[in-house]
Amino acid sequence: MTAERWITVALGFSIVASIGLVVTYLLGGQAQVEGMLLAVALGGLGAALVIWAASLLDAKPESEEVHPLASPQTAREAAWETLSPDEITRRGFLLRLMAGAVAALAAALAIPALSLGPQPGRALFRTDWQGGARLVGADGEPVRVADLGLEAVRTVFPEGHVGSPDAQTLLIRVRPGDLALPDGRADWAPEGCVAYSKVCTHAGCPVGLYRAEDHALLCPCHQSTFDVLRGAVPTFGPATRPLPQLPLSVDADGYLVATGDFAEPVGPSFWNMTHADEAED
């Protein structure tokens, strides 16, 4: 087949496919058909052009000289002299003052960028948890110890703050005897109910996976792994800090309550995180 023929066929297909696209649209549309017809419509036209270029053009290779782009020294000097006439260059003081004014103006104009966000203040150091706050599930219902079977895992929030991104907490019930919590936390896990921040201390993803056989919490983002029995210390992956533990107790009606906020900032680290007392409100 000659090149003309091929081009004719390609263009013919392209036209038919374009008409098909219109028809498909009018009939209500269908993604796969639209994709294929569009491919044929574009491809037919493209193929026609490529065949045309390859077969019907008699383009002989040509050679073009490439000269260095650098201007002659005299032209450079002339350009520089034009750029820096004496009337401007000799007024050094005014020039410097001008530069200072421009810099000051630039800073003044950049300042409104601060409107883009609030000062961090103490936001990174605290969550919505406070002493006496009941633990509620995603449905807002408070959680009773009796509701939790062994190895049960629940995502809980402070009452009135369901869905709170930095207060999200994992509540897990284990055998009290298995727990080996750090010193001073003996009474933080009544009846084996232990609660840790769900925000990964590495890059802040929800620590969404629980491996019951070795009581490990896993973050699906970067595979940081935390030991639930030992105060959620990291055992694998890039995280270096344990998940902060929420101190719990049981109130008179049998509901789980927090006895305070997390002792450390939750989530990913930041440079001044050890300076909780210095951050202003």
Partner: protein, 453 residues
């Protein structure tokens, strides 16, 4: 008509020389063109999407035709993307073509850059365009990340969260910077509207300006070329811009668009309705980003648990792999032409490309960097690979931690040896040592060729 314009603009001689401009003919020269054509497809489909997308993080109740999400709280942005996918006619094809075009855009840029690197096309006088190219790569990555996050689905929200944590990790300025970028502590409702402004206004404006600069510099400096008969360091041999190159390039543009249309029509991509809307308390597992971000995610996964506090200043663990290593990688890439010129003392203008073997050191360093990138990209899939190969993810991660330190230098060393060996053979062949039975003769073009006995 033409006279009317020329009377007013006087462009005839300029047009004539422009139309005769010479374009060297080699398939590797098409890689950059493919990137350009992907960008054209991205602009056209992107304009369509912009007309339907709602950049609004406000929660609304979904009541559209996709029943599994019926009655769920989603953001207005997420709802608008569902509408685009299920209710706007041709919307799904446009969305999928746009996403595929973005993936191919970044891939074409990457391969184009590798071609420029391994052939030494960045050497003087083209260092400037190499720098513009690095800027374009950075902008394209930013376009990818901002665009990918616009649907406000669970997967992209997780990506944004990691981005926030990386910003937060920068010493001294991190918390302020993260709060300024996101408008407060993550997650915020304002972030999608900000990403939208970046994705459809600021970044495209910069990208278009950058691409035009890239092409203008190319036009001014002319193309490089492979060595061959009649080709020297002071000329460029090829076909004229018009009609040959115009027809061929326009054809290639349409063929690129055709392939993207086929992919967008037949290959499902980013089905956000299966991921669900963003919810700060849930996460999907496994969670993989688009391919071009994989290396950054992989670096975060492989980095050891290292978070020193020095004089009360904590260096958060995402800082080194998430901020410092990428910044260093881009700095070295940007400065490479100058580093190489200093190492080789080669400060002459070049028109002729080199084969990778002709510059063993450059090739070795390029392969080292490429291997580093590939291993990090693989590491971003360590959880998926662990499931496929039924190996504990810990074992796989530890193996990759060793590999990222050991394999890239070895690959570089191997490349260096191979380049040297290939060059030695070239020299031997040219000298006719191969069994002593090779004879050379000068051919009509002025080159040399062997006479087989």
């Amino acid at each position: 008509m033409l006279r009317w314009f020329d009377d007013r603009l006087g462009l005839a001689s300029f047009a004539r020389s422009g139309l005769r401009k010479v374009f060297p003919d080699h398939w590797t020269f098409l890689l950059g063109e493919i990137a350009l054509f992907c960008f054209v497809v991205l602009l056209l489909t992107g304009i369509f999407l912009t007309l339907f997308y709602v950049p609004d993080g406000t929660p609304v109740t979904y009541e559209g035709p996709y029943l599994p999400l019926h009655g769920q709280q989603v953001s207005a942005a997420y709802r608008s993307v569902l509408e685009l996918s299920f209710e706007v006619q041709a919307g799904l094809v446009m969305r999928q073509v746009h996403h595929w075009a973005a993936l191919v855009f970044l891939a074409a840029i990457t391969v184009h850059m590798l071609r420029i690197f391994f052939t030494g096309a960045f050497r003087r006088p083209r260092e400037l365009n190499w720098l513009v190219g690095i800027g374009l790569l950075t902008l394209a990555l930013a376009m990818g990340i901002t665009g990918y996050s616009l649907p406000d689905d669970l997967l992209s929200g997780t990506g944004l969260r990691i981005l926030y944590s990386a910003a937060l990790s920068i010493p001294f300025v991190g918390p302020y910077l993260a709060f300024l970028l996101f408008g407060g502590e993550f997650p915020t409702e304002t972030i999608v509207s900000r990403l939208f402004v970046f994705h459809v206004m600021l970044l495209p404006a910069l990208l278009i300006g950058g691409i035009l600069t890239h092409l203008a510099i190319l036009w001014r400096q002319k193309h490089t070329q492979w060595p061959g008969p009649g080709r020297t360091e002071h000329n460029v041999v090829g076909k004229p811009f018009w009609p040959s190159q115009v027809l061929k390039s326009t054809g290639l543009m349409l063929l690129t668009a055709a392939v993207l249309a086929l992919m967008g029509g037949l290959l499902q991509i980013n089905p956000i309705w299966t991921y669900g809307p963003f919810d700060a308390t849930t996460v999907s597992a496994p969670a993989q980003p688009d391919w071009y971000v994989g290396w950054l995610d992989g670096a975060l996964r492989l980095f050891p648990p290292f978070e020193p506090t020095i004089l009360g200043i904590t260096i958060p663990s995402p800082f080194i792999p998430g901020v410092l290593i990428p910044a260093a990688a881009f700095t070295v890439m940007a400065l490479w032409p100058f580093i190489e010129a200093r190492l080789t003392h080669d400060r002459a203008d070049h028109q002729l490309l080199e084969r990778p073997r002709d510059a063993p050191l450059r090739s070795a360093i390029g392969v080292t960097g490429l291997t580093f990138f590939v291993i990090l990209t693989l590491a971003a899939g360590n959880d998926v690979a662990a499931i496929i190969f039924n190996v504990p993810v810990e074992t796989l991660t530890n193996a990759l931690r060793v590999a990222i330190v050991v394999v890239p230098p070895l690959a570089g060393l191997l490349t260096w040896r191979i380049c040297r060996e290939l060059r030695r053979r070239d020299v031997e062949r040219a000298a006719g040592k191969r069994g002593g039975s090779v004879r050379l003769r000068r051919n009509a073009e002025g080159g040399f060729e062997e006479i087989e006995q």
